[in-house]
Symmetry: C2
Subunit: 334 residues, 2 copies
Amino acid sequence: MAEPKFDVLGIGNAIVDVIATAEEDFLVREGLIKGSMRLIETDEAERLYGAMGQAVQTSGGCAGNTAAGVASFGGRAAFIGKVADDGLGRVYRHDMHALGIDFETKPLIGGEPTARSMILITPDGERTMNTYLGAAQLLSPDDIDEAAVGAARITYLEGYLWDRPQAKAAFRKAAKVAHAAGRKVSLTLSDSFCVDRFRDEFLGLIRDGSVDVLFANLAELHALYQTADLDTAISALRADARIAAVTAGADGAFVISRENVEVVPAYPVERIVDTTGAGDLFAAGFLYGLAHGTPLATAAKLGHLAAGEVIGHIGPRPAVSLKGLAQQAGLHIE
Amino acid sequence: MAEPKFDVLGIGNAIVDVIATAEEDFLVREGLIKGSMRLIETDEAERLYGAMGQAVQTSGGCAGNTAAGVASFGGRAAFIGKVADDGLGRVYRHDMHALGIDFETKPLIGGEPTARSMILITPDGERTMNTYLGAAQLLSPDDIDEAAVGAARITYLEGYLWDRPQAKAAFRKAAKVAHAAGRKVSLTLSDSFCVDRFRDEFLGLIRDGSVDVLFANLAELHALYQTADLDTAISALRADARIAAVTAGADGAFVISRENVEVVPAYPVERIVDTTGAGDLFAAGFLYGLAHGTPLATAAKLGHLAAGEVIGHIGPRPAVSLKGLAQQAGLHIE
């Protein structure tokens, strides 16, 4: 097997984030569930944009953010996702290339515009996402670059892809190609409502070995096993998954393998400004560690380091070099 | 004279900022002068965008930022500036309206795109701007809403408008309309290279009474009077200007009137992340104070408060309510 060209290949919705602060009562008035992601259509996107405050536009998307994190650690990252041939699509492509990420997916011509997610940041730093998928949902199996997937140690997929039939087919193809090439497949459950929509299918992927490394937060874990009891959920996940990392905010992460369940504490965080990208960046650190053969606990520490950086400022991607932070923390990997 | 509808009406280039961090050596390689603003054309804009890092897009522009600051203090603000009928133009309009700013200038249809400024933030927090003016430079005298200018206590104009003939004509018309209505006119010199380009004309405006309130930083003041000696420059300005505020970074500001020169110290700042908008927000606080009849020193304190907030984060506009900050600092104005 050839030496892999990429540490991590992310596949997901290519989304530009439109970020504004909002008070709690704005969420109440709009009937929004804090911390969740909902899909919206054009009319609602226009209406909500008109109602929300002054915003900042920046490239985002779950797997895209993870690829950005891997690149920031000094890893070799690639991304597959669909943008339109429009202004926001050019912004997205620019940002990926500026980070040194391999991103060659052809843009959608003459169809729906590039996806955007209107993200409302409440004073507690929590984010509530309202996503118009646009071109992103037209990611299709034809967009899956088999050579790239075969050349990546780990292919990382978003649960969000499951929301649209073509993207889901692309997801399945990528997982198959990766395993056929002897590579690993990783999945993030993305969101507890996403888990509610596709629980059985996600459990199937985990149980049948389609997924080697699973990411979830506590809400997603509870949604997956439909239990409020953490021990029950952890035990169930341990029986089903090969490797899993369950993030628990300030309490750190549960790192789960068939042999062991370990709690890896998070680093203290000075202040939480915007939690957008926290899970994506945890995954970036964890996968970067795994790709370089670190123990699972070290990989989780790299994840905490990256998540801790991204929640300290507005925006879902690192503002400083994660490689530098890892060196300072004594976690540098050559 | 009717009670003014607006505290401050800003007229300037309507620009979307494209902000990325950059190392010092990037500026050296690109031949850029740190802290300055240069105008670039389409080809150079494309090339530089390709070379710069992952960016954040957000509404900016000198007078637009000042209007945003006035609104954040709870003041009544209006803005006149030209965007195109494109994606960035819609972002700009949305952001102004979201802040409660009156902004009714008709967009440019089928011409050049909305202006953008590529802003490089070096590790010391200094910003270096590369501006493609696009639609903004087509602001014309027809765009000057005479009723709005007549209904504003202070009309605030950017020196940058002087770079294009139509915008300059619009500037002259606005100043004339304001004075005819018994209102005040304020000018910011914008940039030391801008002063180099238009020194005699700016001095003419200050000396002939076209400008009631002048803003400059130290570099602009030295450029205006072509002297390295601060006392000489301050004395010259005192003889020429009615009211002037000269910002001196951490050293505070010189507040200059015919009667007096006073140094108003700045508030201590925890950390400098991005100086973009510092001068614009100082002007916002100062003008908000003047519009509400505060002493000049109090107006300068409001200016320092606003500038101190905006340099603590990425982006040229306040991230929190300046009204709230002013209340905490005991500077609240009913």
